[in-house]
Amino acid sequence: MGLIARVIEAAGVPTLTMTSAWDITAAVCPPRSAFVHYPLGHQTGRPNDLDGQTAIVRAALEAAWRLEHPGEIVRLPFRWEGDDGWEERAYAPGLTPTGPDGKPLRVAR
C-alpha cells in the first residue's frame, strides 16, 4: 500500500496510509502513516463498532495535519482490549514465534 501512496503523492495528491504493521510500513516508507496497534484485518477497528471505527479514522485523519516529516509514522492511542497476548498469536497459525535468541517471543506490555 505504501508503494501506491508514493505514486499518488508524487502526482500532487497528499496521502495518509493506515497501518498495523510498523515494520512493513517503515520498510516501504510511504509519506504519512498512522499506526494502530490492532491485529491485521482491523486497521480501522473492530467489527460492529461504528463508534470505535469512527474514532480511529478521525484520529488518523487529524494526525495527517500534524505530520511534517516525509516517512513519519504517528502512533494512535488505541489499545486492543480483552485479548491479552494477541501479538504472540498474530500471523502465526500453529507457530510458536521465537526471538533472535531462539526462545519463545515475549512481548513487552
Binding site: L3, A11, T19, A21, A26, A27, G41, Q53, A60
Partner: protein, 168 residues
C-alpha cells in the same frame, strides 16, 4: 527520524512471514531507504473540515455483482459506490484473517465511518466511488506499473484533497 526505530511492543511481521512461509518463495515488500529514496511530499491544501477524502482499501473488498479478486498477481481494482449496502460487500484475499472483516467490512473499509465524519462536518466530504484492490500482489513491478498509475489517475480525476489508504 524516530519512525525508523521500530517500537519494542509491535509485531514483527516481516520476520514472522519469513518463518511462516519458509518453504515458499518469499513475499518481498518494497524497501525504500528514507535517506537515499525519501517519499514524495505533497502539502495538504486545506483544513480537514474542507477536504474531500478518497478511500482506497487493499483488503480484497468487492461487490456481490462484481468479479471476485483472484489470488495470483491480481492488479485489478473495483469501484465501490458509497451507497453500497454493507451486506452486498464480499472479500477475497489470502493474506490476512478476514473473518471479522467478512462480518463487518468497516474493519478495513471504513466507508460508514467516513460518511459519518462528513455528516458531522469533521471532513469536507467523501469521494464517490471508493476504490478497492487485493493487496497480496507478489509483483512489485506490476503494482508499480499497472495498479498504482491507474489508481493515481482516478484519484486525480476525482479531485480528492487527500487519499486515505487502508491496507489489511
Amino acid at each position: 527520524m524516530d519512525s525508523a526505530a521500530i517500537p519494542p511492543d509491535v509485531v514483527r511481521y516481516i520476520e514472522r512471514t519469513r518463518a511462516l512461509y519458509a518453504t515458499q518463495a518469499p513475499y518481498r515488500w518494497v524497501e525504500n531507504d528514507p535517506e537515499t529514496d525519501p517519499p514524495p511530499w505533497a502539502p495538504l491544501r486545506r483544513p480537514l473540515a474542507q477536504s474531500r477524502v478518497a478511500l482506497i482499501a487493499s483488503g480484497g473488498i468487492y461487490r456481490s455483482d462484481q468479479e471476485p479478486f483472484h489470488f495470483q498477481n491480481d492488479t485489478s481494482h473495483r469501484e465501490i459506490p458509497l451507497d453500497t449496502d454493507a451486506s452486498a460487500l464480499r472479500i477475497s484475499h489470502f493474506g490476512y484473517d478476514s473473518r471479522d472483516a467478512q462480518e463487518d467490512p468497516g474493519c478495513v473499509f471504513p466507508v460508514r465511518a467516513l460518511r459519518r465524519l462528513a455528516a458531522e462536518r469533521v471532513i469536507g466530504g467523501v469521494v464517490d466511488p471508493a476504490l478497492t484492490f487485493m493487496g497480496g500482489i507478489y509483483s512489485a513491478r506490476r503494482t508499480r506499473d499497472e495498479l498504482a498509475p491507474r489508481l493515481r489517475d482516478i484519484v486525480l480525476r476525482q479531485k480528492a484533497d487527500l487519499a486515505y489508504l487502508v491496507p489489511a
